[in-house]
């Protein structure tokens, strides 16, 4: 996360770290139910076997396992059938854990939006992750507040790509607060009236964020995929 700040334990209990040997942390991910996690499809490029992965919850510092930490193996990886590597569209995947997590104050699921719930431009939301900070990779979870921007305005930043309804854009023209490599699959969450946090985006792509940062970040639009997510969870829970 560029331009963010170090988070505190328990502030984002749905944030998880998708890990694979020998790299360790590869991508972010988001807990949506006791046995189910969301991340983006491009994290699995070239490594789509479930056995190669594990998911770590309840940590703030990647380097210091906390007493709240829970680790689960991956049972199933479900990539969206329309995921396109070339244009990074339909960039979403559902991960089934080997066994349920135990819900604690530090490991809890986030809410999913309803299909009709969409984000208005100029809404402020949070992104979190252990990705690049522009000058280094952090150990501690970083958080940043970003502003949602319209798809039309977003298209103007990315001449070479087509911004689709499967995407949400958030950040700032100057790119001061943005997600970066290693944040992929992590959450873009917004607080709803009543204090509940809802997941609207998964960090997906953007312009180069090590230098010359320009333009907002692009997130997979979770509202677009809610029906697909719920159906996949139903199929893999009740129809196996």
């Amino acid at each position: 996360i560029l331009g963010g700040r170090t988070s505190r334990p328990g502030r984002w209990p749905w944030q998880c770290s998708l890990q694979s040997e020998p790299s360790g942390h590869v991508c972010g991910c988001v807990l949506i139910a006791k046995k189910w996690v969301l991340t983006v499809a491009h994290c699995f490029e070239g490594r789509e076997t479930a056995a190669a992965w594990k998911v770590v919850f309840g940590i703030n510092n990647l380097d210091h396992p906390s007493s709240y930490m829970q680790t689960r193996l991956v049972k199933t990886i479900i990539l969206h059938p329309r995921y396109s590597r070339a244009v990074v569209d339909y960039d979403i995947s559902i991960v089934e854990l080997g066994e349920d997590i135990s819900e604690t104050s530090y490991v809890r699921p986030v809410c999913l939006p309803s299909m009709l719930q969409s984000l208005e431009p100029d809404t402020y939301c949070y992104i979190t992750g252990w990705g690049h900070m522009g000058h280094k990779m952090p150990f501690k979870l970083q958080e940043g507040e970003v502003r949602v921007i319209s798809l039309e305005q977003c298209q103007s930043y990315f001449d070479m790509k087509t911004i689709t309804t499967r995407m949400i854009c958030a950040g700032y023209e100057s790119g001061t607060v943005d997600s970066c490599m290693g944040d992929s699959g992590g959450p873009l969450v917004c607080e709803q009236p009543g204090g509940q946090w809802t997941l609207f985006g998964l960090t997906s792509w953007g312009s180069v964020c090590f230098s010359k940062v320009l333009g907002p970040g692009v997130y997979s639009n979770v509202s677009y995929f809610v029906e697909w997510i719920e159906r996949q969870i139903y199929i893999h829970t009740f129809l196996v």
Partner: protein, 374 residues
Amino acid sequence: CLYNSCLGSCDGSSLCDTNNNLNNCSQCEPITLELCMNLPYDYTYYPNYLGHRTQKEASISWESSLFPALVQTNCYKYLMFFACTILVPKCDMNTSQRIPPCRALCEHSKERCESVLGIVGLQWPEDTDCNQFPEENSDNQTCLMPNEDVEECSPSHFKCGSGRCVLASRRCNGEPDCDDDSDEENCGCEERNLWECPTDKQCLQHTVICDGFPDCSDHMDEKNCSFCQDDELECANHECVSRDQWCDGEAHCLDSSDEWDCVTLSKNVDSFSFLTVYRSATEHLVCGDDWQETLSQLACKQMGLGEPSMTELIQEQKQDQEWLILHSNWRIFNGTTLHELLVKGPSCHSRSKISLLCSKQDCGRRPAARMNKR
């Protein structure tokens, strides 16, 4: 490798060529960078002249956005060709060596286009010092120069009638970008060999028609995709399955769509929500005879909701109601769906239907982040 540096290890992925031994480490790899898929050569060599180690890295690089945008300014006819010779350098299949652009090609590109970048406060990419490239025909070192059939525009561009290149995302975007406005001509879906949604006039690739995912706002792209018999129903992926198999607890469609949304809560006028099952694609009420609380829990869980907060048996007034009743041995079934435990019944003795309220799954709260009074 024994003779030259090899690509990184394969991480045990099956992608590795099994006879990859120390001697024949080929350096050449097919070009996959969309931007440079129309070059007069098909194989490239990494790392490239900008220090990118893979084509994936090149595809998200600053330069892969900069050059196509710069090409639109028409500053140099062969700029796109030069950009590709450094983004995806040609690889000589015999020697597995990379072949550089000639110095003149680099110098012409830089002379004509660097000033254009200066206007918008950008610099020519640092790693492209032309002196690193050989002079044309210098001591028979081969280097690349464009010939007359080199494409000036990349596959990510649209070629204007005037010959200029504008980015494909600007084609038919409602704003003229070509100097002759040709990017806003022939914008009908058919003229661009695309499929048109009847209502919202959206243009779709033919590949997504009848693929099981609706794209038009009225889902017309997923209509009339298959012709099922009268006693059959169409799956989301357009297969046909027998009506009797719909919501019978077992997936018959390859995409399991015959088992989607089988158990729901239907609202009625006085806002009771009655447990309803869509057996054989017909709504059925569930008879309350022998009902157990565990069945209410299964129903709520199956609908992706939390625990049941209320279960009530309500008298049904209608006479000709179609009922589903509990299978006599439902207790021995395990790990199944609720509707698999139900069978069509001639009657419901108690004539009572099930009114059910499920709580929502608790989510989105963060108790540890509470403000602690000091």
